[in-house]
Subunit: 238 residues, 6 copies
Amino acid sequence: MRPSSRAPDEMRAISIEPHVSAHAEGSALVKFGSTQVWVTASIEERVPPFLRGKGAGWVTAEYGMLPRATHKRADREATRGRQSGRTQEIQRLIGRSLRTVTDLGALGERQITIDCDVLQADGGTRTAAISGAWVALRLALDRLNAASPFAQDPLPVAVAAVSCGVYEGVPVLDLDYAEDSAAETDGNFVLAADGRIIEVQATAEKAPIEEETLLRLLRLARIGCAAIFEAQRRAVGR
Amino acid sequence: MRPSSRAPDEMRAISIEPHVSAHAEGSALVKFGSTQVWVTASIEERVPPFLRGKGAGWVTAEYGMLPRATHKRADREATRGRQSGRTQEIQRLIGRSLRTVTDLGALGERQITIDCDVLQADGGTRTAAISGAWVALRLALDRLNAASPFAQDPLPVAVAAVSCGVYEGVPVLDLDYAEDSAAETDGNFVLAADGRIIEVQATAEKAPIEEETLLRLLRLARIGCAAIFEAQRRAVGR
Amino acid sequence: MRPSSRAPDEMRAISIEPHVSAHAEGSALVKFGSTQVWVTASIEERVPPFLRGKGAGWVTAEYGMLPRATHKRADREATRGRQSGRTQEIQRLIGRSLRTVTDLGALGERQITIDCDVLQADGGTRTAAISGAWVALRLALDRLNAASPFAQDPLPVAVAAVSCGVYEGVPVLDLDYAEDSAAETDGNFVLAADGRIIEVQATAEKAPIEEETLLRLLRLARIGCAAIFEAQRRAVGR
Amino acid sequence: MRPSSRAPDEMRAISIEPHVSAHAEGSALVKFGSTQVWVTASIEERVPPFLRGKGAGWVTAEYGMLPRATHKRADREATRGRQSGRTQEIQRLIGRSLRTVTDLGALGERQITIDCDVLQADGGTRTAAISGAWVALRLALDRLNAASPFAQDPLPVAVAAVSCGVYEGVPVLDLDYAEDSAAETDGNFVLAADGRIIEVQATAEKAPIEEETLLRLLRLARIGCAAIFEAQRRAVGR
Amino acid sequence: MRPSSRAPDEMRAISIEPHVSAHAEGSALVKFGSTQVWVTASIEERVPPFLRGKGAGWVTAEYGMLPRATHKRADREATRGRQSGRTQEIQRLIGRSLRTVTDLGALGERQITIDCDVLQADGGTRTAAISGAWVALRLALDRLNAASPFAQDPLPVAVAAVSCGVYEGVPVLDLDYAEDSAAETDGNFVLAADGRIIEVQATAEKAPIEEETLLRLLRLARIGCAAIFEAQRRAVGR
Amino acid sequence: MRPSSRAPDEMRAISIEPHVSAHAEGSALVKFGSTQVWVTASIEERVPPFLRGKGAGWVTAEYGMLPRATHKRADREATRGRQSGRTQEIQRLIGRSLRTVTDLGALGERQITIDCDVLQADGGTRTAAISGAWVALRLALDRLNAASPFAQDPLPVAVAAVSCGVYEGVPVLDLDYAEDSAAETDGNFVLAADGRIIEVQATAEKAPIEEETLLRLLRLARIGCAAIFEAQRRAVGR
């Protein structure tokens, strides 16, 4: 029995509200149950030094949590003077996941920075962030396209992510905080809308797992991502 | 003529939504026009070292802006590794303003940290933050009181803040970004609900001002704060 | 009765010794009673990036305290690895106060950095610093003018600052440390020699104050600044 | 054809030299081809604050690269003043991988810190580090056991790791730098000696991959880890 | 011919003004020609962790330069966020030199921190700092002794320091900036008043030197220190 | 009697293995007894800003210790976020010692960075580092010379360094950790192969020393360096 009484393959309620920011070129407020992430995409007409003059663009991401997004207040990273290893790991994952499906040449010499800030955390913040980041990026590209159409769409496929894990011996989909903090195994799966895999990060926290368990988690991830892709389509109006 | 077509003594629409956070003991989403600040109050049953064993509590504040809260994306302070001078100045102001009206002895040996994070900025973020911070603090104290009534209310009076300035030669109330970035003089006024003054910070940005101008700005601040106190009362249900 | 036996509207002895540095283009050692601040003005023939090619100059300030300037030794900021919020707030105030009366266009494309280092602290270090900073800036400009006369004086008016506050219920002028650490209200007033106001920062530390009290503090500040303007005139030889 | 002319399922030469440090309780110099990692295990009879008094121990890891371990010299992290996101990600992975198979209760209230410093890098530094870290940990535990036998072995199973990826369309085992920098997909697999999975991190760098590809990489990892487990056994003398 | 027209074995004018700080337990303003260093000694009735409960005290030093102590303004170390290698090297030297002659057991469990801040620099700041540091330390100990006499004087011998170097092929005493920046060899000599050597740091900047040259520099240092010891005696009133 | 049973003027076994790095232009693993330092020389075809366009090159050094190079594990400097004062002092010494004998004009506009990383520490790490650094630099220059002969050899003389000190009243050569941590006086001597002195740093740790003692230490250093020069010649094949 899951703490939330959900079935093992049941996602939490998903909502992705687009255009939440008056300033950002693309934005979304994504909710996976009580987890809420504010996502903005910012376009700059310049690229990092290593890309200058190469005709290609760049997509990168930053991640943060408001200090009281969590049950217990955490120190503010700006006050501590450095981002934690966890924060850096997550923002690297978000950026990498989007770049895998972005045609950086088609994007042209510009950089899009995705900021994912967690207003409220209840497990799955990184996967909610990736799922919302795709929406913000898509909306920013739509805006660029409306101003001056791309010869080729730089973002031909959607990306969604969900966490799966083994909780009290049972593989379950979309862990909330109560499950996540007690899970034996925790995995994050980033999938493309065509069914292919972008990134798998599965960690046996308490004891090593069998290969079949890994595959079962991947099956659950496919179920969850189907629901997320649907919410994304509604958010971007396609 | 103000960019927003408001009259010189006209506030923007104010809204203060309470209880926006599932975790924080007190919280509010405060909006002054397009400016939006997410405020949480977190109670910890411990005090800073300099207060230990003295029977008194502490109220402090931290302030941050999401990187794309502004027209142009700004670097994330956690990435840069330090809070800017402006950020520190603002968070010191917020904490000081609340402490002036808080009876720290009545609060008892506990610390309340107010986090003010700007989701969207259009001028007046620090005054919106102070106004919302009072609501979050009030709600957190109400919760403590419900669990174990205070002998004496540690927060007997409300606090609100508003910016006033001289724009194109005219003293105006509640500057938005378009006005703020061009104002000749900029002032922040923190007032108590009984009409007394908590803090005045008035800066002649372009040229020194006459004493009458300072007093005119204070008059405008009283008008603005009256509206904010009304919104605060609705938010805390009194 | 004030700890120093001064009358409520009595300044401490003021002295401003010019030309204390062999290297700096302008310099002064300013004393307000036991408070001593070493001030230098350094001219650089370049401007910050945001001003390049705009034909205007810049004036900025930095502030520091020697570790044993105070009764009890404080950690050295260079050792701690960051300037405190208080330090940043003060140096921003000094720079802003001078820029308000400086004609940056008349200055031309150069930057003048004012360094204010407190050798000994007994209250009022920021106001002594501002008062001395004007002298150092004036002397640096005189030197530039002697080498190549300005078409128009970039610094047409003097700036002085003084602290006023409410101590044991009485508004008093120029607080020393004994008063400052116990004051109910503390204000810093930056005035121009023509009587206009450059900056007012008044903080009710213990309880909100009435408007009349604020005005009384401003009256005291005018008295104190008159004495400082006189000392400045002697220091710059006008 | 691989740059090294190896078959797709062929590991590089592996060597693990134990007891390389005169001071550390456990140590090894591990080589995967030209990649060389110096690993030490240091025992401290104290645990991190969150574990105090709980009767359990802790295993953690740190990772570094000598500045000229790579083809081109990189800045020293101690000089830059912070560890990169990549470094933190790797050291978190090493620590997590070892903790999954360590019985922290059986270890008792002590901390073992594994330092993995790359003397020379040619791809696969993190997997070589994990493989060597297990040896250093095993040797440190053997030393503890010799002094005072454990009731139960805190490290009942060996851990090895290897990278696999898709290079020019072909899944290959144990990527060297030439392959790694050009791979379409890159995965790191951490396995237990009993065949179970500890961690999988597979990233589609250039384009999403099919599920079959992921499984093929896992097969290759099993082949590679078999060789590493053999080298580990020789190194620890079992 | 030296830039200052001094003879090779001629010191600059030395002055050591004691009791310059109203707060510090010991203090001095030391001048070697145009070089001016403000030195304070601060007593704290606690010792660093590694000395707790061992019945011995500690003497340590910190060094800084005001930004415009030099011909060209240098960045403030507190702003840059770290002390330079040069600064750390100098403050380590000052502390070490004093500890060599201090009987830390006789001092008792207290720490004395010597702060040396350069108001104006014209070569020899570290040697002026050491020479003044001894005076500040002596005065602080005299004060302790007056309150409660030491069984044994913790500072039985005076310490002075001077720089010597080879300038245009000639060994010279007490280099000023013009010489220091062009010297072929630069040495700092810390001597005890009884003629023994505390520290020698001689660096051949341009080319290696003969042993005779090193000895000639040491002879010059003895001449210079004799004058400094005399100035120290006057400053401490013995 | 020395802890190692060596005679007072007896060096530890010295070994310098050249070409240990596959990537660096020059490299060596230097051992003084149990002290082991991994040294690489990296050539970059650019110079620091202050040398640009001046036709001269630069040689600089960085120093580090693996966390468990020592008896007790030390914090990693990259984790602490700054290099210690000791580290900076040592790396400045290494760079300075090499530059004294390098003809930077003959080197041409390129920078050579010497990285000295201590794998194992048993006293004398800085002198082993300097001795190995010369070998790495020599090998890197030989490689440059082979590609395009220098008109003049930029490194005409060898540099070696050794520590000497007073241990239990006896001047001894090449202190190991047991001696170093108990020595009354500690000196580091950097000598050129032609007998001249590059740098002397002698510190009386416990009590001031006589001039004769300093000279005796220098005699011992000459004996030790003779052995090191011989090992260097073998390492560079001359």
